[in-house]
């Protein structure tokens, strides 16, 4: 099988006269597939914006279409970068991320129309610009990191950066508190940023590197009890440290979702590195114990639990900070039914923050169950591709990093969508790629860049085909 990424030398040319080395042009099957899917994704995105305009305004307005077109241009630029520097990268990640991002922009635009916002006040315009910035970040990641094993060298730097980013909102003067949670930083009045989103990438790199180095002591020794091998007491250090870190996020930053995200990420990577169920059970009981204590002692956690368990109680519904938003979102989903009210024809703006935390409820109202399940299927495919990259990987660091990065997207989806649909208590996190918010977009597109790079270096080209 001719290797696609290798410049092969045409021997006939090389032998007698010229000595000229010529690159064999092999068809880039993966990239052509990607181009095809990307074209469809951009078409669907354009269709979504046009449908929003037809539904909400009754006419087609070209300004946002132009902005969207420039965004498509940037996505195609990423595609051509891949053609040159990462020819074997996974062909599905980019189209899926593009489609999710585009549907998100269309929905945010739809809510802007309802709120009569335009220009820089419009969240859709800002979201489009952020998307451009985020895709540029992904291109930079692919160009700068030529091999993911480089990251292994910076394990502890990544860990330090992750914790520092996590603690940054607590710095007085820099941190901003938005609706109770102190997870933002801002300079002056504008440019607020959620550093925790970037921290999840740094922490995934750190956990992967740390576990590859130290997993032997975490997986080999310990005594057997109830058919499971439990670790020694002195090996409990790392899990307790991460647990303490996520508990401090709950207490000081007042953000349940972020804490759950980091702790879940660590637990999954620990399980992956050691293949021991006992870690998962211990970790889950630690976190559930902590969350239960927090729900008894911390008012805001307690409120979240009440809103979740007793959402339809009129007293809770009408209370300040009660379940109004949650129930309003559920009403929206119910109104959507099976095929939705149609883009631009529902009333998603009746729910508070319909463009960020509640974008899933807004989409569910206008696209219905069929549309929502399509979005969930896109996430499923995205995460499955990430797991696949981890599975096909040759080195342990790449395996752990690939699975960790895609799992963090999956867990974030579960926490947000589970919260909106009342499966778990509602916690504020952004829906990856969809929700309005620059930091989340940048972080998730960096994840796309890393996964693309990983899939290119990891895709083990056969050394021999029999």
């Amino acid at each position: 099988m001719p290797r696609q990424s290798n410049p092969a030398v045409d021997a006939r040319e090389a032998a007698p006269k010229t000595g000229k080395i010529r690159r064999l042009h092999l068809p880039q099957k993966l990239r052509n597939l990607e181009l095809f899917l990307l074209t469809i994704a951009c078409g669907v995105n354009l269709g979504a914006v046009v449908l929003v305009q037809l539904g909400a305004l009754g006419l087609i307005d070209t300004t946002l279409v132009l902005l969207g077109a420039s965004l498509s241009g940037l996505v195609f630029a990423l595609h051509f970068v891949l053609r040159i520097v990462a020819r074997e990268a996974d062909p599905f990640l980019l189209p899926i991320a593009t489609l999710l991002n585009g549907i998100g922009i269309a929905m945010i635009y739809r809510i802007d129309i309802a709120n009569n916002e335009s220009g820089w006040a419009s969240a859709a315009v800002r979201q489009t610009v952020w998307s451009g910035l985020a895709i540029a970040c992904a291109i930079a990641v692919i160009l700068i990191i030529r091999n993911h094993r480089v990251l292994f060298r910076y394990t502890y730097v990544a860990g330090f950066v992750g914790v520092a980013l996590l603690l940054l909102p607590l710095v007085p003067g820099l941190g901003r508190e938005v609706s109770g949670a102190r997870v933002w930083i801002g300079f002056g009045d504008f440019a607020t940023f959620q550093p925790g989103e970037i921290a999840k990438i740094a922490l995934a790199v750190f956990f992967a590197g740390y576990l590859v180095r130290n997993r032997d002591s975490l997986s080999m020794v310990g005594r057997k009890f109830l058919g499971m091998r439990f670790p020694r007491l002195r090996d409990l250090g790392p899990i307790l440290v991460v647990w303490a870190l996520s508990m401090s996020v709950i207490i000081f930053q007042r953000d349940l979702g972020t804490a759950l995200l980091y702790f879940g990420l660590f637990l999954v990577m620990l399980y992956l590195a050691t293949a021991r169920l006992s870690w998962v059970l211990m970790g889950m009981s630690l976190f559930l114990g902590g969350a239960l204590i927090a729900s008894q002692t911390l008012d805001y956690v307690n409120g979240r639990f009440t809103n979740w368990l007793d959402a339809l109680n009129p007293a809770v519904y009408e209370a300040d900070g009660g379940s109004y938003q949650l129930v309003q979102g559920l009403f929206g989903l119910a109104k959507g039914g099976l095929i939705g009210t149609g883009l631009g024809q529902g009333r998603p703006e009746l729910t508070p923050v319909p463009q960020s935390d509640y974008i899933i409820a807004s989409l569910g109202e206008e696209l219905g169950l069929a549309g929502l399940f399509a979005i969930l299927a896109l996430y499923l495919l995205f995460v499955a591709r990430g797991f696949r990259i981890g599975f096909a990987g040759q080195d342990d660091f790449g395996k752990l990093l690939g699975v960790g990065l895609s799992f963090v997207v999956a867990l974030q989806c579960f926490i947000v969508i589970g919260g909106v649909t009342r499966v778990i208590p509602l916690t504020g996190l952004t829906t990856p790629f969809l929700a309005a918010g620059g930091s989340s977009l940048v972080a998730n597109w960096i994840i796309v860049g890393l996964l693309l790079r990983l899939s290119d270096t990891v895709r083990n080209q056969p050394r021999l085909v029999v």
């Binding site: 269709g47 083990n460 085909v465 029999v466």
Partner: protein, 197 residues
């Protein structure tokens, strides 16, 4: 221009349809992940591939035209082919473990590609029908992810990845990761190989 109710309904359904078509398009492109790779019929009496480098299904022009002008090792891991007769396999007195220091190459000893070899590095070697394996064996008896050779403190270990038809080390089926001695036959499907100096 105010679109009618009906136009909007049709457009809305068309949009949902497009969304799902996109998803099914991806799933269709992914089908080899879900159902495994197609089995290629092996030519039963194919001549041993000693002189012909890589008679791969779409024969590369290089290989077809100039049998001996192999690309001058475009990269370190590119499959290079030498004749295994150059070094007669020294039969060891006792089973010597294959380590990163002692074993330098993997030689196919029987099967349609008998005589080919590739250098062993310090990276694990995965074996299976899936095209993301390092050693791709496409016959009826090989599983998608069949087995792997991995390093355990510099020693090459053979692990069967729950394959259907098993991996055999010196005639015995491998159940747990087993260390591989030098010059000992590992049999997978219709192909056997050895690790050699």
């Amino acid at each position: 221009m105010n679109p009618s109710e009906l136009t909007l309904l049709v457009l809305r359904l068309a949009f949902l349809l497009m969304l799902w078509l996109f998803i099914f398009g991806i799933v269709y492109a992914l089908r080899s992940d879900l159902f495994g790779h197609r089995v290629r019929k092996l030519a039963t009496d194919a001549p041993p591939a000693a002189g012909v480098p890589f008679a791969s299904p779409p024969p590369a022009p290089v290989a077809a035209a100039a049998p001996f002008a192999q690309p001058p090792s475009a990269s370190a891991s590119a499959p290079t082919e030498q004749f295994s007769q150059q070094k007669a396999p020294a039969v060891p007195s006792g089973p010597e473990k294959a380590t990163t220091r002692t074993a330098t190459r993997l030689v196919i000893t029987s099967g349609p590609k008998a005589g080919t070899e590739f250098p062993l590095g310090s990276e694990p070697v995965t074996i299976g029908r899936s095209s993301d394996s390092s050693l791709v064996i496409r016959d009826d008896y090989t599983s998608t992810h069949h087995a792997r050779l991995m390093l355990w403190h510099d020693d090459w270990m053979l692990q069967d990845l729950d394959s259907t038809n098993g991996t055999f080390l010196n005639g015995k089926r491998v159940a747990v990761p087993t260390s591989v001695p030098l010059n000992t036959t590992v049999k997978i499907g219709a192909t056997s190989f050895e690790l050699r100096r």
